[in-house]
Symmetry: C2
Subunit: 441 residues, 2 copies
């Protein structure tokens, strides 16, 4: 007998079906037993007697039974299959679950973060936890679709690199046969050099940062959504492409994840027709005017400043997202393009939303000699970036690009409090699946 | 003036256009100079006089000019834009290229492998080299589309892992703050445990193997295309899903990469309506009958045996691809499902094609106690696979899955001699972009 998925039962009233799934919940009403069976499509109620008697949550069962229409007064409007139930005829337990360490039946899984992660194989079964990764899947897939639609070519960026191009801080070392190598902090140099080959490229890949601190928004391993393209006239085209990408992603999430957003009681961020943009110094002036906090000489926005400018953007411009542009050139990497009129500031930008940075991007230097001079000035050894410099030596168009973190977009779209919730298997200073204190030094 | 792509010129005869791209080639005919301009769409010929005089291959130029129909006798049928040329009016050199270290104008780039890789930023500009990565992009994208169509959920597998679950051989060590961690050799344990959460999952991600030897088909960092799913009845469903995936991928490559395949003078592998499958012992008997080489007691096929069974498959079954199944259980990982009738052999399979392994897969043990017993018997510490075992403790359906290497499919589809050609930035015992001998120990 062919398997019927839970949500397919509504179209099979009066038919005998074979349901395969996990026991999601169990309710006893005297001699009558109800079990909700969960599979990848959703949940359906099965009704039986003593044959369901020893079923426990998370048991894997194959149940043969008859699909029946529920009487009107017993319809459950909150369930996609709430109009039917399956009357059990034969029950086979394929895998018996041990007793659960906590109640998985609550609408929101109420466990502390360490427990959520210690029991990750189990907690990922909770519908509201699964919703997070449905959203993440749509974010990543939509990014690829957005870039493909603009003729960007997908490439696979390397993870192991031969040197720490921008210095050794916050970079992981890999013992590579007899040599020292490192884990890439970003595909920046690769995506830039590939503009010389393919003009427009994007990648979805892991980047690694040895963040020496524990915060709610940093991990050591994240999924970076990167794009880079050539033949631009100014940084504005780069900003516009980033704006197109994030709008595309959010529109897809809104369309495909209505149910998931509803579970979190949240809407996708509000975006103005044109996302507002302002220079760092302008943003700092606004913050000073609004709060009296004088950050007007700072090189970057502190977390509280990021929150304030997001508040301003929503209140004054009706946009949850806002670009801040023109950061001090010296505070950004060597390849950043200085502004023509005021070279102390660069043609780069961050996109902020809901109080946090979502994306960073900008125009890059394309002239070989200027790039070489900047590298030296920034203390980056040309020896360490040979393959990158090579691209510029042999003809490179004006270029720029941007990068998002997939986990951050997921976290901020759903309003989660901690990026670890937006990562199936988060890695940080304290944990790599298991707590670091339990593994060898 | 808006940019016109090279291939768009054919629809703009009589119009003034702005072309932006690289000088692909240059030909002097007395006072007349022809330059081919290359951009992401293709190549178009520009004709001019002394104004094109100092252009060199790989210079980045912006050329304004008039699109003219070529006289019939000067049409180039091999070029998509061969019916037109652009008469240059204004030429701006945006980035001047240094003199090239070798001729990039040949139809096939004739450089040795070390040169191909030493100059990777440059050699990736060659059309026939680019074709390889167009095919790879289609392979990877088609894999995702194939799995999405079957309701598989995409997930992001971690790269840094806390222990070497199957022993420490061929695994890279990462210095992780004060602890020893490793780079994942496969997402196997993660994709299996996620079957307990999402039923059907797939991933496209990097895996790392400290291969201590230099061969034409191994790298230390490759892109693994992984799928795993639950509620199967036998290994045959896993084989069938793998067969569906590879057929889908090859059909897409055939459809979308006709031009690229033609450049390599090759067709996608021939596939029978049903890909033939035979047990290892049957394959070995056939090899013995055909060659007199007696490998009938071996645990695996040697490279020459793989080539022979592929030859047999093509000659006798009309299929470039062939499944070999039922390898000795002890020669495979601890989670492999033994055959019910003959537990010395397992319910696993390899897919071979054009003389080389393409894919490996099979059914996995889903019973917690059996899995635990096997882990111990195989010398795998349950401590090291806690999060994985947890999934089985709390109810796991019968499951199986498979994995391809994206670079191998690309290499074998195009008939390349070395997997390094099918990788933008190949890593091996001797090279991580630069030769290892040049970097620190």
């Amino acid at each position: 007998m062919t398997r019927t998925l839970a949500t397919e039962t509504v179209a099979k009233i009066g038919e005998q079906v074979l349901i395969k799934g996990w026991v999601n919940a169990r309710r006893d009403h005297g001699k009558i037993v109800f079990v909700d069976i969960r599979d990848r499509s959703g949940v359906v109620q099965v009704v039986g007697k003593t044959d369901l008697g020893d079923l426990r949550p998370e048991d894997v069962v194959y149940i043969t039974g008859l699909v029946k229409k529920r009487p009107d007064n017993l319809v459950n409007p909150e369930l996609a299959t709430g109009t039917v139930e399956v009357a059990a005829e034969k029950v086979e337990v394929v895998s018996k679950a041990e007793e659960l360490p906590f109640d998985m039946g609550q609408e929101t899984l109420e466990v502390e973060l360490p427990t959520l992660l210690d029991y990750r194989a189990l907690t990922l079964r909770h519908p509201k936890v699964q919703a997070i990764f449905k959203v993440q899947e749509v974010v990543i897939d939509s990014f690829r679709k957005a870039m493909q639609a603009k003729d960007f070519m997908e490439f696979q960026a390397p993870s192991i690199i031969s040197s720490a191009p921008e210095g050794g801080a916050e970079i992981f070392e890999v013992k590579y046969f007899d040599h020292k190598t490192y884990l890439a902090q970003s595909p920046q140099l690769y995506k830039s050099l590939l503009v010389g080959d393919f003009e427009r490229v994007f990648s979805v890949n892991k980047v690694f940062r040895a963040e020496p601190s524990v915060t709610t928004r940093h991990l050591t391993e994240v999924v970076s959504l990167d794009a880079e393209f050539g033949f631009i006239d100014s940084w504005v085209e780069v900003k516009d492409m980033a704006e197109y990408a994030i709008k595309f992603i959010l529109a897809e999430v809104e369309k495909k994840c209505a149910q998931e957003l509803a579970m979190f009681g949240i809407s996708v961020p509000k975006v103005a027709d044109e996302i507002p943009h302002l220079k760092l110094r302008e943003a700092q002036e606004i913050i000073f005017q609004r709060t009296g906090r004088d950050c007007r000489q700072e090189k970057d926005l502190a977390p509280e400043d990021e929150r304030e400018i997001c508040k301003w953007s929503l209140e004054e411009k009706g946009s949850d997202l806002v670009f801040v542009t023109h950061y001090p050139t010296r505070a950004r990497p060597f390849y950043t393009y200085p502004d023509d009129k005021d070279p102390e500031f660069n043609q780069g930008f961050d996109l902020l939303g809901r109080g946090v940075e979502w994306l960073t991007g900008g125009r890059r230097i394309h002239d070989y000699q200027t790039l070489l001079a900047h590298a030296k000035e920034w203390g980056v050894s040309p020896e360490n970036i040979q393959i990158y410099l090579q691209a510029f030596k042999y003809g490179m168009p004006p270029l720029g690009g941007f990068a998002f973190g997939a986990e951050r977009i997921t976290m901020l779209t759903l309003g989660l409090g901690n990026i670890r919730e937006a990562t199936m298997f988060p890695r940080d200073m304290e944990r790599v699946d298991v707590r670091l204190s339990t593994i060898q030094k």
